[in-house]
Assembly symmetry: C2
């Protein structure tokens, strides 16, 4: 396997040790615990926590800090952390006003997250789970809650994180998170597979002239293989599917993420944004301070996700509010 | 060629149009001119300018803004911009106190940069060029000024940019830039080639178990092919070569960049930092707020550069000083 690592079995520990060594002014963790915490905790308020599998960096450990996450329980590669580890993250993030546990809709994350919530409640800790889903490729309209969590969850981390920093209640954060989730849709295109550090093999196969629309963040099957086409054409297909799903309407303002899956160049992502901007404006939909970059990855997979969130002046204010984390910023 | 673009001939224009559409609150450019400018120019002071070829994004257009560059003349893929375009960037960045033109040491950049300086001076514009070089693979010790510009130039953009924002004189900026350059060394390792958008072909070849130490940012040949080894071993080889070159000594404090060439995962970069940190501390060299990420790319090449800059309290202050650009931040 051609990766610059020591050994697949040590990858997560080595990565965490490197992270805390380089960014000790932002984050901390107790060796062995695999819970990444912010250096400067909030003085008060609700703890914002997620447990997730590794292999998608910078999400989620790169987003621990002021204005985003209070704690991240770090699982093995592409594997949800065990409930006990999520529980530990909840305990550490709790400042007496309870925690919101973000759960991206993938079977293991849901199972272990719900178990952790039960265990926490048995200890008298106030915790609410927020299930996150946004990927329109993974279940049809009308069955939104069966959809996978995908890069559109970024809006929840940022907007709920900003409000949590301001001291909002658990109930308010749960409502805000649900609103953002229900206002968000995303869709991905895979160009080339990444290499799994677990197997050393490509995570799926694609012909040299083929792309896959609807691929999930662990290489889950998409819904349509098609020939590679000019960016304008591919982006139109993806964007119209997203716009029609919510649906987004003439006059809507939207937050926008164009996310690279790992190996896609920033040049390509900016070309994608150009085409996306044209499709949105052609439908009378107005982007607000778009974010373009590589934030939610599947190792060195090449591909692009487009995510849109119907926004409001209050959500824009939270989008703009300062955050200080190592790997997020606009 | 499997890239999500419209056509190789339109790539630079499409990318620039996408960039200004997404980040119009940060940067601006006049269509056709290919000079990227900051939205909010400095009120006064020396203009900081670079011309460089495209294909290495986010550098340099992603670093235009408060606390870094005032203008970037954007060339074609892997091609220096013509002198007339660099001249245009110098004119636009000049606020009456002249400009510092950064020139990364590559033949075309030097030729066109020097011509632009001559043309600007003929117009009465005060301009000083600063030649940047840091890659120890490309010329032996004692012939430092023949070395290529490589990711260690990052320290010049950030530190000189911070001082330019504070209103320092052209003479002072030139001295500061020279000091930072002379205190910086870097070395790269290539793992897998990127695909040139010009030819659609891989930019070099490497066997499946082979890495190349000393590769340049355009795929220029390195000095040593060797078998892929554990990260600890590769990083020790690279770091000791850098430490011995300046040389860095026991008790030195250093700024650190671990840069991904494009397709290398953040997980790998953090593992590299872990190993680097151990080698540095073993030699009594103290890292100051390291930067880890994908900043200077060669398309979707996989690889890592390590850059070290011997620092001082004043350089640390400039490293910490705020900057507001779309694609740089710690």
């Amino acid at each position: 396997m051609k990766k610059l690592i020591n050994h697949p079995n040590r990858l997560v520990e080595d990565m965490l040790e490197g992270y805390v060594a380089a960014y000790s002014d932002y984050i901390r963790y107790e060796p062995g615990s695999r819970v990444v915490l912010r250096c400067l905790p909030k003085k008060q308020g609700v703890g914002l926590v997620i447990g997730n599998g590794s292999g998608h960096e910078p999400i989620a450990m790169g987003w621990v800090g002021q204005g985003m996450l209070d704690a991240n329980a770090v699982g093995d590669i592409f594997t949800a952390p065990p409930p006990e580890l999520i529980l530990e993250a909840l305990r550490k993030a709790n400042l007496g006003q309870g925690c919101l546990l973000l759960i991206s809709n993938h079977a293991g994350d849901v199972l272990n997250g719900e178990l952790a919530v039960e265990m926490a409640r048995e200890e008298g800790l106030r915790v609410e789970p927020l299930l996150m889903y946004d990927d329109i490729a993974s279940a049809p309209k009308g069955r939104e809650s069966e959809r996978r969590g995908a890069p559109g969850t970024t809006f929840i981390y940022k907007l709920v994180g900003a409000r949590a920093e301001e001291g909002a209640s658990l109930r308010e954060l749960l409502e805000l998170g649900s609103l953002v989730r229900d206002s968000t849709r995303s869709l991905s295109v895979a160009i080339r597979p990444g290499i799994s550090p677990l197997t050393g093999e490509a995570m799926f196969t694609l012909a040299e002239d083929e792309i896959f629309i609807g691929m999930g963040v662990h290489g889950e099957a998409g819904f349509k293989r098609q020939k590679l086409a000019p960016a304008a054409e591919v982006v139109r297909t993806v964007t119209e599917a997203i716009l029609d799903d919510l649906p987004f309407r003439f006059g809507d303002e939207v937050l926008v993420l164009v996310n690279g899956a790992g190996a896609t160049t920033l040049g390509e992502l900016l070309v994608v944004y150009r085409e996306l901007d044209a499709v949105l404006k052609g439908r009378g939909v107005h982007p607000y301070k778009p974010l373009v970059g590589t934030y939610i990855t599947t190792q060195e997979m090449a591909g692009v996700s487009v995510a849109l969130c119907r926004t409001t002046p209050e959500l824009n204010r939270l989008w703009d509010s300062p955050c200080r984390v190592p790997f997020f910023g606009r």
